[in-house]
Amino acid sequence: MAFDLNGVTYETDEDGYLVNLDQWNKDVAQYLATQEGLDMTDAHWEVVDFLREYYDEYKIAPMIRILTKAIGQKLGKEKGNTKYLYDLYPGGPAKQACKIAGLPKPTGCV
């Protein structure tokens, strides 16, 4: 599978995750979010930025609890929970947010 954006072709897997992670940019994220029916707000971008930062260092998406805590520290304690993340990303912070952040799909019992 693939999609075209601004004259560039982006290859994706069956679930719509980018195959080549280096191709990611904000326009791609915006496009993927629209496909998911999401309106990207600053709060959404905070999550994406954190995921990318973490992935850069650890080559894996962070544990959900690490993500909620980081978001809580940045945006206020009342936002540092799973519910807040699911409100932002109804498809799940691990899967939907990873897709938009250009991370590979988490595999396993998740």
Partner: protein, 500 residues
Amino acid sequence: MAAKIETETLTGDINIPSIQPGATAHYKSNPAKEDHNKFLGFPGARVENWREAAVEHMGELLGKYKSLRVFMDICVRCGSCADKCHYYIGTRDPNNMPVARQELMRKVYRKYFTPAGKLLPDSLTGASELTEAVMTEWYSYFHQCSQCRRCSVYCPYGIDTAEVSMAAREIMDHVGIGQKYCNEILGKVLKVGNNLGIEPHALKNTLEFVEEDVKEVTGADVRYPMDEKGADVLLVAPSADFFSTPHIEGFTGYGKVFHEAGVSWTVSSYASEFANFGMFIGNYDTMKKVAQRIRDAALDLGVKRIVVGECGHAWRVGYSFWNTLIGPFDFLDPKYPAPQHICEFTLDLIRRDGLKLDKSANDEFTVTFHDSCNVARGSRMGDMPGGQFEVPREIIKAVCNKYVEMDQNTIREFTYCCGGGGGLLTDELMDLRVKGVLPRANALKEVMDRHGVNTMAMICAICKAQFTKVLPNYGIPMETVASLHQLVSNAVVLGGKIGV
């Protein structure tokens, strides 16, 4: 985003629906990529002579596993199993009746391996060649079986549908028809050490996070060590415990229990996975390779005991198959079972009065327990028959004040699968997963309405992931799903009785 999946309204009753032929014939797991298959030693793509190769391999399996031949021969179509499968109840597709699912293989067996099937017309024997259409059915419906073995409990002959499904998947892999979910994951565990692909430095970071978090919440210095040589216990957890919620809450609990027991322990970055999908694909060699990492890690770290976390199918592999696969465990301390389940460890400590527990910490919860299929029907725990049912319940009752059982036909050996086991916990099968949870969701709904249950505890990583994802489709919040050791974690008073 995918369209909302249509669900039935929960009534609290489990009704057996009328059939709807072909309702789920279009369900199809994503096929494995060439490199996924090749890494496991299977052909990268479907081989040219796949029919002959599949029949030949079926013959090999029939020779190697006498049980499979017996299962092919002895079914009398009594129908006892027909209404026992959660996928049949949820999808109404008659091919999800266990007898019909087996028939997909049995008709091929008759054609090539029985005198009547070889000599008489198919119309008389119900035999069938392995055609393209039959293979399409195999791929679809043998990936609509979670190998939970509920049907086998009701079969008067004890036919094990899971074994038939495993054999079918093994035959398909053998001719290059692999399923992506299982085969990609098996590649990761064999390369990186866990299903998620968490590298050692990331695992270390996660463990440090848990350590800091526990310190912050409780003020206690509970350790979550990695790769510590000379520790007494090697803890092998499903890697979802390092990633998902509520899994991590359970893992946090294991650490508190070890801390209170005064036992040194460690996880291994080399063998950071208890799950063993080799069983799901019915491939002995792969299952052995995955398990071998754990033996190697235990020897390398010089531990005296292996304790394992909350993972259903892996407990079946560990309890029932490890000794043959990677035993003997003569290098471990013979005073303890090898492996020992974390529930056995915790209950032993509770019985010896070695844990100070504050049950009121769980007073906001009215708890029920979901028996996970592979624990319930493929293993045991503790030192008495039925221990796999009693051990977890005894722990819950020791840490919670309010406990309620679901309907007796849906628990213990009669438990319903979560709908995501057996290598089906993948997004492209979401429709099946949502429908497959129906009987369990109804049984849960009944105790929610009648007794105010708001928490369902369990000891399986797949169950936790599946329920948190699919129950909200029925209006049941994901917070209902809990790790058993999450409840233990809540109730443990740290520093209460260290080292008793």
